[in-house]
């Protein structure tokens, strides 16, 4: 079984957006604007990242009056490492076609990481 070699381009863009200011919390809309992803594509990616422990999420403590609380996201330490590794891998193999490792938008665990 070959290990995961790359994330999908959409997931890479999300990881890149979140790893720009890794200590900051990000809103979904903000990530969507930076990645140009639609909400129906972005949130499944965020869910899979959170399921794998690469992303932490929490509800806003102090909501703006008149608006519902927002959900905030940032990468965990393993998430940051995965983003760095993915970015390094993408730079090292620029001509290599992306290898599908699962359904669209999914992130299969790397070998030995399950």
């Amino acid at each position: 079984v070959s290990p995961r070699s790359e994330f999908s381009p959409q997931t890479l863009s999300v990881l890149a957006a979140l790893s720009d200011r890794p200590s900051d919390w990000h809103h979904g809309y903000e990530v969507a604007r930076e990645t140009a992803l639609k909400s129906g594509t972005l949130y499944p990616i965020l869910i899979r990242l959170a399921d794998r422990g690469l992303l932490e999420a929490e509800w806003q403590d102090e909501p703006v009056p008149g608006r519902p609380r927002r959900h905030l996201y940032r990468l965990t330490a393993p998430g940051l490492a995965a983003a760095e590794a993915a970015r390094a891998g993408a730079l090292a193999q620029p001509g290599r076609p992306r290898e599908r490792t699962g359904p669209k938008g999914s992130l299969r665990p790397a070998a030995g990481n399950s």
Binding site: H27, G40, R70, H71
Partner: protein
């Protein structure tokens, strides 16, 4: 908040309830985020994403589509059973039957998850479960049609009371007792099917496939020997004993099919059970080898006979219902001849009355399959199981593949 807003909020909450708990937060988060977007097309698009996300998460979980499909199918079955005059005694029984059967099936599903564990991986175990549920739900309206027809005929012609009472569907006091027995059999069959298709039973995929194949073959023979019900005597003037009849087949072929029925009923579990025990690949080592072989043998006999009983009775009850609901079909169903008014009337009466024999099939066929497979399994693997007084010599030996 406007009425439309309140309705949308209720609908949204209802959809959220369908989601697994760990996913609700995400859909709520997506929706809450939309408040930060400028009003207009962009916000609507964002909110549409929450609908897509909810649908994706709902469909991504097997249980929820299964529950939805069951709810829809149960509702359709109820709609098929519900019409009926309040003056018709059968109507109340039919309604009771729908509620009881749907409640039992729902409870069995819940019980199976907590006692037997999840369904075995693969499409076949899930397909067997889904087909079992579908077959029961199909039988609700088809049997109701036959019962209602009989009562309506009796009500219109009081002189037929004695005739119908001699049959099987007169709605007298024993009717509730019969319903109780039928529900008891249903619970037994549901438990058997849910256990044999569960992860915990350790039934191999090949044994399951063998059981289903055998069951379908026996069920098809059963249906061919009596497509209008086992007790129907029309189409065969010489047959007054209530034996198997197929109005489409010449007598000689009917005899062949009937013989095949009996042979398959007994020889199927007797031959295929040991084959499953010896040949089907072993999945785990939680059970001793011989016990595991015995379970495969039991699966073929019990599950195969349940599949057979279901196949024959569902197909026959559907045929009867079609014939009663569409009188024009009766002439085609009975030798393709144009029946006289009286003949068609008696034909319908007989066909309607035949459904009373279905509970008997439901009970007898699985019991025969169970008994034969237990006896054959004990004879074949008895010594290793310790029935012969000797210690099991092969437990723990390397597995077969």
């Amino acid at each position: 908040v406007s009425a439309r807003g309140r309705i949308a909020a209720h609908a949204g909450r209802a959809i959220l309830r369908l989601l697994p708990a760990r996913r609700r937060d995400w859909v709520e988060a997506l929706w809450a985020e939309s408040a930060a977007l400028p009003p207009g097309r962009e916000r609507v698009r964002w909110q549409a994403g929450s609908v897509r996300l909810a649908a994706r998460e709902v469909m991504g979980s097997w249980r929820t589509p299964g529950r939805l499909a069951f709810t829809v199918a149960a509702a359709l079955a109820a709609v098929g059973c519900w019409p009926g005059s309040a003056a018709n005694v059968v109507t109340a029984t039919v309604w009771f039957n729908v509620v009881a059967v749907v409640a039992i099936l729902g409870a069995m599903g819940w019980l199976a998850r907590h006692v037997f564990g999840p369904a075995r991986a693969g499409w076949l175990p899930r397909a067997v479960r889904a087909a079992f549920y579908a077959a029961i739900l199909v039988m609700l309206p088809t049997v109701a049609i036959a019962r209602r027809y009989d009562y309506d005929v009796v009500d219109a012609h009081p002189s037929l009371h004695r005739y119908i009472a001699a049959g099987t569907t007169y709605p007298g006091p024993p009717f509730i007792l019969i319903e109780g027995v039928v529900l008891f059999i249903l619970v037994g069959c549901a438990l058997a099917v849910l256990w044999l298709t569960s992860e915990r039973s350790q039934v191999s995929g090949r044994a399951l496939a063998l059981a289903v194949g055998f069951g379908l073959m026996l069920g098809a023979c059963g249906y061919l020997s009596g497509p209008l019900g086992p007790g129907n005597t029309t189409g065969s003037p010489g047959n007054t004993a209530g034996g198997a009849v197929n109005p489409w087949l010449p007598g000689s072929w009917t005899s062949v099919v009937t013989i095949a029925d009996w042979v398959l009923l007994f020889a199927g579990p007797a031959l295929l059970g040991p084959i499953a025990g010896f040949c089907c690949g072993r999945r785990r080592e939680r059970l001793p080898l011989v016990n595991w072989r015995f379970v495969q043998c039991l699966c073929v006999g019990l599950l195969g006979s349940i599949v057979a009983a279901l196949t024959a009775t569902v197909a026959a009850s559907a045929t009867i219902a079609v014939a009663l609901e569409f009188p024009a079909a009766a002439s085609y169903l009975d030798h393709g001849a144009n029946l006289t008014g009286t003949a068609a009337y008696l034909w319908g009466l007989n066909a309607g009355g035949s459904e009373g024999a279905f509970p008997l099939i439901w009970f007898c066929v699985p019991v025969v399959g169970f008994v034969v497979s237990v006896v054959v399994g004990a004879v074949t693997f008895g010594r290793e199981l310790g029935f012969g007084g000797e210690s099991p010599p092969v437990s723990g030996l390397p597995i077969d593949h």
